[in-house]
Structure formats: C-alpha cells, structure tokens
Symmetry: C2
Subunit: 121 residues, 2 copies
Amino acid sequence: MLLINQLSKQTSIPIHTIRFYEKTGLFQGKKNPEKKSNNYNYYDEETIEKLELIGAAKMIGFTLAEIKELIEVWYSKQISKKDKIEILNQKAASIDEKIKQLKQVKKQIDLFIKEVEEFDC
Amino acid sequence: MLLINQLSKQTSIPIHTIRFYEKTGLFQGKKNPEKKSNNYNYYDEETIEKLELIGAAKMIGFTLAEIKELIEVWYSKQISKKDKIEILNQKAASIDEKIKQLKQVKKQIDLFIKEVEEFDC
DNA sequence: GGCAACATTAGACTATACTTCATACTTCAT
DNA sequence: ATGAAGTATGAAGTATAGTCTAATGTTGCC
C-alpha cells in the first residue's frame, strides 16, 4: 500500500492532481485501521492501474465524467455483464469514430503539405 | 459576403461562439467601407472554411491556440515555405501520435470486453 | 414613423480540469 | 526534541472554451 507521494512518483501525476481525481470520485484511498494516530490515505495497485487508465483516456479526449463511468464499469461487481459490455462497446465505438476523424484531418494536412511543396515558391 | 447570422446558420456554430473565436483572433470580419452608417462585420467564404477547420481540429483535441497557429500557416502569405511545411509536419506527427494512442486504448477495451464476456458470469 | 429582427460592445457567468494557498497535524532522521 | 518533509482539508485562484445578458444602434418592411 502506497502513500500519496509514492503514488505520485510511480504515475508521474502530481499529488494535487491525484487528490483532485480522488475528490472527483475516480477512486478512493483507504485509511489504515491499525494506525489511528493519523488519517493518511493508502493506495493499492489498482489505483495505479486506474491512474494509468485516466492518463490514457484523457489523452484521447475523454472527460473525467466519462472516465469515471468507464472506471465504474471496469471495476464494479454490481453492474450486469450486459450493461458492462454495452458501455464498453460505446466507448470502443467512440474511439473508432475519433480515429476516423483523425485520419480525415491527417489526410487533409498531408494534401496541404504537398500543395505547399509544389506551388508556394 | 455574409453577416454573422448567415455565417452562424451555414456553419451551425452559435453566433456567440463565432464572436468568441473572432475575438480570440482565429479570423476577422471586414467592415463595409461603402456603408458607413453601421459597423457590421462581413465574412467571406474563407471564414466558412476556417470555421470548418476549427470544428474538425477541435474534434481531434487541438486547442484554440494550436488551431490559431494552424490557420496562420494555412492562410499566411508571409510565412516561408520551409516554416509552413515544418509546422504542418508537426501537426501531422501529433495526429499520428494521437491515432497510435487511440488504437492502444481501443485494443485494451476490446480485450476487456472479451474478458467480461468469458469470465464475468 | 414605428416595430421586429438583426448588429455591436463590454462584461458577467458557467463548466471543466486543474493548481495554489492556508492551516494544521504526523512522521522521521539527527 | 526539533526541524524538515510528508499528509489532510477546505477554499480560493487559474486557464480554456464557451454562453448569456444588457445596453445601444441599424435595417427593412408595413
């Protein structure tokens, strides 16, 4: 179990940002019941996974609200198999859509580069 | 030449947003020198193009600052061919990078869907 | 000439995602 | 035991990207 400082170092995510994510409900640290003198939060390996997922999902344009939903599906034991698969398929589809859009714009930029190379002398 | 209302209708971008983009420096309307009684802004076809570019670039996660740079390259007559190509290549590379990341996450989600389908009964 | 529909500006307000600050407590090395 | 470093909490501040309001002026049509 890691303290927030270690967690930050292992994920390269600033402490303040981690706290912000925690407050947003993306995950929760656990208090140590044996140590009642402090109320430090302890984080498990799953939290590292979650932070990595957050990083990846953010990079591709998901909002924290969407990521929260994704995490809930990913780790929930309560959500039915059917619902899980549906939400995951939705996310997968939205990623495909984004890839399509990116390729479209890439093509346009490549064309424009050619244009510049040939005519704009 | 279009007034802002027409521009908004043709691009499906709200008037307020168009004004915001203009204030941000993504493009500029022109005053009509023959009509000195008002100071309405008139927009040309190029502005429609630019707004479409903004829409596409935003969709793939470019910030307005990046888009501004892209538009400046796209339409500037002052920037050298070499610089234009360099900036465009940078944007193209960042799109490739994003596509790579998206594919990565897509793969992870697909794997997880399989996992859920097989084991989480 | 009067009224609806459109235009402009400045400024206030919102949401998202942080980021910093202030205060106060805890742990650890010397 | 004391000071540096780490932790918690709440609240304020920042940046980006809008979105809305108010006050005021303009145009077009009956």
